[in-house]
Symmetry: C2
Subunit: 639 residues, 2 copies
């Protein structure tokens, strides 16, 4: 075991950040000059002053006539004053003539005011006949004229340095006439992956290998936070190779990231190599954070190097705690928390490991009292826990829990994430996906998320307040009734759904000749079950009991898929001979042995019932359009 | 006047939208396949299903030993069980051997579980000696093993169609191993400008011309909302030229935008040309919206054409009401309101023109009760009104006002805009800019905005609640005291500031020999004043009065700059001979005749005093670092 590194002295997060920032240069980078059209989301390198007046001349802001107010001071609706029209002033051209008493010039919006005139009268208050214009109203000096510099004056400071350039700022900069703008350079981030199990996307997935998630994750997080990612490939477990590759990045990148291999093998190599690369070398090895402990922070020859854990969730934790703040500082981009910090309430007690700063992936859902936040299921290895999380809460090292009903702050993973208006957790159903598609069509502004955990999990999520809506098909064996029993236990409303045909899914032509439940116990038959807690599994178990079949006689009873679609895919690929699922997933290329028709209903927590998103969902569920759609789905029937 | 178009029959906004969407295809575009690393902020074209299990094999989630739980069921801390180590399983490789009773395999995190073993014991609970490992704890079957498909199952739906791809989604997609993703194409938007007064950025600014703000504004707004802008230049006022250019865009672009010239001249040409281009042609010409009335909505030969007003604020209104929602629909991007709708309170009554849907630029500032919103000063022609606005409120046609203290919603111009934590409105001062720079340095998370309107305007903004803080230097002529009198009139706190030297700014070497206030009345002297309401102008007027000088004798008394810097720039450029300003703006290249030292203080509304941003500002104002800085500024002196 001697070559294994066990982290005994961990550094806490704040201390690690302090040490790192003491050695890594966190000042914003130099500037570069680019075209305005390419400057979206870049950051101004210095104060911008106007070199011109805007407008640069006195201009008319109306269509009408340039006049001198003294000529028409007595003009009234019933006593117009006639002026001689001496010409026309058009936008873009200087008028050639001059003012003479009792004259006027026809003028367009945007045209320069001809010399000697002091105001503009709107065309609505005039009547032109040949070379004469009757004026029906007086004007004040300066009326309907925008004077030179009225908008922006030469020498005026328009934006301070470090202003983030959105469409708003770029439009204003365009008014100054300079097609270019001086912005902070994007920090260049070198990205290496390591680990013998890692393969690049698109390669063939050989046994024991996994795709390199971190390279993509680090690249797109770098992009999203104002950096420029440069992927440099997978490094192998070899001292000289690692050293020569790292040496080439020094002073060429603003940050070097190596993911994977920080806990063993390459980790130990890195440990020794980093101190050979340049001073000060290794700064922190192992951080009191969960997940993300096996992290390396180093600076070699002015180049910061961060070693991220290989586990995607752990890498994400360190990305958010160290990498993203560093990239944003170098890029001059304001901290992510400016755009992406969401106040929320947490309903349940959040446990945390005392002595480790915890980075807990959380999701957010809308409630009547604002955003509620829930921890996301899944261990630190699960990439799906990232998919379901909107952001994270940090629980400092000295806390062992956050009490229920606390107000917390969730930092979104990206400022482009929109928390969920409508969270549906429960049983997997194709018709539910159809409702969601109708929601997207009619209410694109409502962000919904569907999490498939089975009917039992759906009921539990409704109880916790984590789901607004759950689709369920739960048979009460005593009464033989579906779903209605839930109402006796919780404050919910049941919205009637539809009937679905459940049965056995087999390959086209039913090559194994499976016809009854008894056939599932045959030695030559490989079965695929559904997950514990799913309505389908509960139904299947009740059918087994009815037929007195011992589950242990079924080859594959313990294996399960989490959705009907996955069952169909397993039969289709030949992985299994038969699975239990709803009829619709058989499409045209699988056969189906019906077992039982069941009732699928939608349950809604009463406390969420008046949220706009929930009202809209129920309206679509009850709509004629959806009913017609149900009628056409194979194995479905209206209630 | 015959060729002028006066809009008599305007269409209201909702009706215009309905007509336009009835004729323009608003379905999302086709798909294209791109690399994950380029897919940030793109939108999934179809549901994504996994074609693999993740992980694709049973893997260890710990460093330790693969064991069979039955071999060690009686292991305890003081009664270890010895197992024979038959080899080592490394991440990335399949272990060659098989389980034999009382054996174990050393295993790394991520390595496949060797055949026949059912659990992993953490290295912390083991002790290896040569070929033997002592095990100090029992395991449950499956312990510390992540089974194949536990995270993602083959056939599982990962994301539905139309999912926006942030770093979160792209990281999950990477786990599936496909380097590519099928996304909705970006809508191609052709952009023309028109108007004889318009010149391109970078061209020489000739008299009567203005820079083309709209081309940049439309381009970057298109980019920001998921479209692909293609700028096609400025079109001239010529029937055949316009027609042939527009014909070339039909069926090649998803949207064609022409800005400018919709009210006259080119507007009339467009009107006739559009109906020649294809069916159905012109749909709406003139909309009941303010600003933005002279707008054209058309569809020719399946290609939507929108004519925007030339005025930048009017163009912005139509961009937000029609263009941006259309681009987002075609791109499949959720409506902007998902990310950028901010609930706010408006303190003052907002007037609106009845019979016109009003699009009112507003800014947002933080208060104890959430966001407050204020209308932005400036007419519809002012580009600065865009610079100061964060977004807009829509006031429907049937309302003539919104009452004071209403709850409204502000749609940000861009989801990247962060509303203001700290709004400073008042007198222009270089030292105030230094405090802001210190704020950015120490508190980058606080977004501040400084609006220069003079001391009087600053006091008024504090009264309205529009400013958190104002810098003022207001002399009370009766008492001769600065600023303290404001306290008698309003509930404010005065934070003592510093002294500044005011005086006359002249060119280096003082070529016009200006030494006294009397010299300003000389015929050969051109003066530049400060804006009405500025503390500097109030001081200047009191000095004139003291010296019995009639303002009308001063050449240029009516002309004014809105900042000290602008005064210095005007003297520097030779536009004027002398101006009134603080000493610091003279730098090394201007001369200065001191007039009077004044007191500059900071006033804070008591109702905002406990906001974190305000506390931090005051702390910096009182800091030693700032005091040292003041000491070094020319013409400044500590209080």
């Amino acid at each position: 075991m001697s070559k294994r590194k066990i982290f005994r002295e961990l550094t806490d997060v704040e201390e690690a950040r302090r040490i790192f920032e003491n050695h890594a240069d966190t000042n914003v980078l130099d500037s570069e000059t680019i075209n305005l059209n390419e400057a979206l989301n870049r950051v101004l390198a210095r104060d911008v002053f106007s070199t011109i007046d805007v407008p640069s001349f006195d201009r008319s802001i109306m269509d009408g006539f340039a006049v001198h107010s003294s000529d028409i001071e007595n003009a009234e609706e019933d006593k117009p004053i006639e002026l001689k029209v001496i010409g026309e002033a058009k936008a873009g051209y200087l008028f050639e003539g001059y003012y003479e008493p009792s004259s006027c010039v026809e003028i367009s919006t945007g045209a320069p005011i001809p010399i000697g005139f002091d105001s503009v009268i709107m065309v609505e208050h005039t009547l032109r006949k040949g070379d004469t214009a009757s004026i029906f109203r007086s004007t004040a000096p300066g009326e309907d004229i925008m004077s030179a510099g009225a908008d922006i004056q030469e020498g005026e400071r328009i934006f301070p340095a470090l202003t983030l350039l959105t469409s708003r700022e770029l439009s204003v900069l365009a008014a100054l006439g300079n097609p270019n703008v001086e912005v902070i350079k994007k920090p260049k981030v070198a990205i290496f992956s390591s680990g013998d199990e890692i393969i690049e996307l698109g390669e063939k997935l050989l046994p024991g290998k996994i795709y390199d998630i971190n390279a993509t994750s680090i690249s797109v997080n770098t992009l999203e936070n104002g950096g420029l990612p440069v992927y440099l490939g997978i490094i192998k477990d070899n001292h000289d190779d690692i050293k020569s590759k790292l040496l080439k990045t020094l002073n060429k990148y603003d940050l070097v990231i190596i993911s994977g291999g920080t806990s063993a093998g390459i980790g130990d190599l890195l440990y020794s190599i980093i101190d050979e690369l340049g001073k000060p070398g290794m700064l922190v090895h192992g951080i009191k954070v969960k997940p993300g402990k096996p992290t390396i922070l180093a600076v070699c020859d002015n180049t910061p190097i961060i070693g991220l854990p290989g586990n995607p969730s752990s890498a994400l934790s360190i990305l958010n705690l160290f990498v993203i703040p560093f990239i944003r500082k170098k890029a001059g981009v304001p901290p992510l928390s400016n755009n992406a910090l969401i106040p929320a309430k947490v309903k349940q007690r959040l446990r945390s490991v005392s002595g480790r700063h915890e980075f807990k992936p959380m999701n957010l859902i809308k409630s009547n009292e604002g955003w509620l936040s829930f921890p996301v299921p899944g261990g630190s290895g699960a990439i799906t826990s990232i998919a379901l999380a909107d952001g994270f809460v940090e629980i400092p090292e000295e806390y062992s829990f956050i009490p229920a009903d606390s107000d917390i702050e969730i930092l979104l993973f990206s400022q482009n994430i929109v928390p969920t208006d409508l969270q549906i957790i429960g049983s997997h159903c194709i018709a539910m996906a159809k409702i969601q598609a109708l929601m997207t069509k009619y209410h694109p502004e409502i962000r919904s998320r569907s999490i498939v955990v089975g009917s039992t999990g759906g009921v539990a999520s409704i109880r916790r307040g984590e789901a607004h809506i759950a689709g369920v098909h739960l048979l009460d064996e005593e009464t033989g009734k579906y779903n209605t029993w839930i109402k006796d236990k919780m404050d919910i409303e049941i919205i009637p759904g539809y009937f679905r045909m459940q049965g056995l899914v087999v390959a086209k032509g039913n090559p194994k000749n499976i016809h009854t439940m008894q056939d599932l116990s045959r030695d030559d038959v490989r079965f695929l079950n559904r997950n514990p807690g799913s309505g389908t599994r509960i139904l299947f178990d009740s059918l087994l009991q009815k037929d007195n079949i011992n589950p242990s006689t079924i080859n594959g009873y313990q294996d399960y898929a989490r959705s009907h679609t996955t069952v169909a895919a397993a039969v289709r690929s030949g992985k299994v001979d038969v699975g239990v699922a709803i009829e619709i997933v058989t499409a045209d290329d699988l056969d189906f042995i019906p077992l039982k028709e069941e009732e699928y209903d939608i349950i809604v927590s009463k406390s969420y019932r008046n949220l706009p998103a929930i009202k809209k969902f129920v309206k679509i569920l009850k709509s004629e359009e959806f009913k017609l759609l149900i009628d056409e789905l194979k194995g479905y029937r209206l209630k």
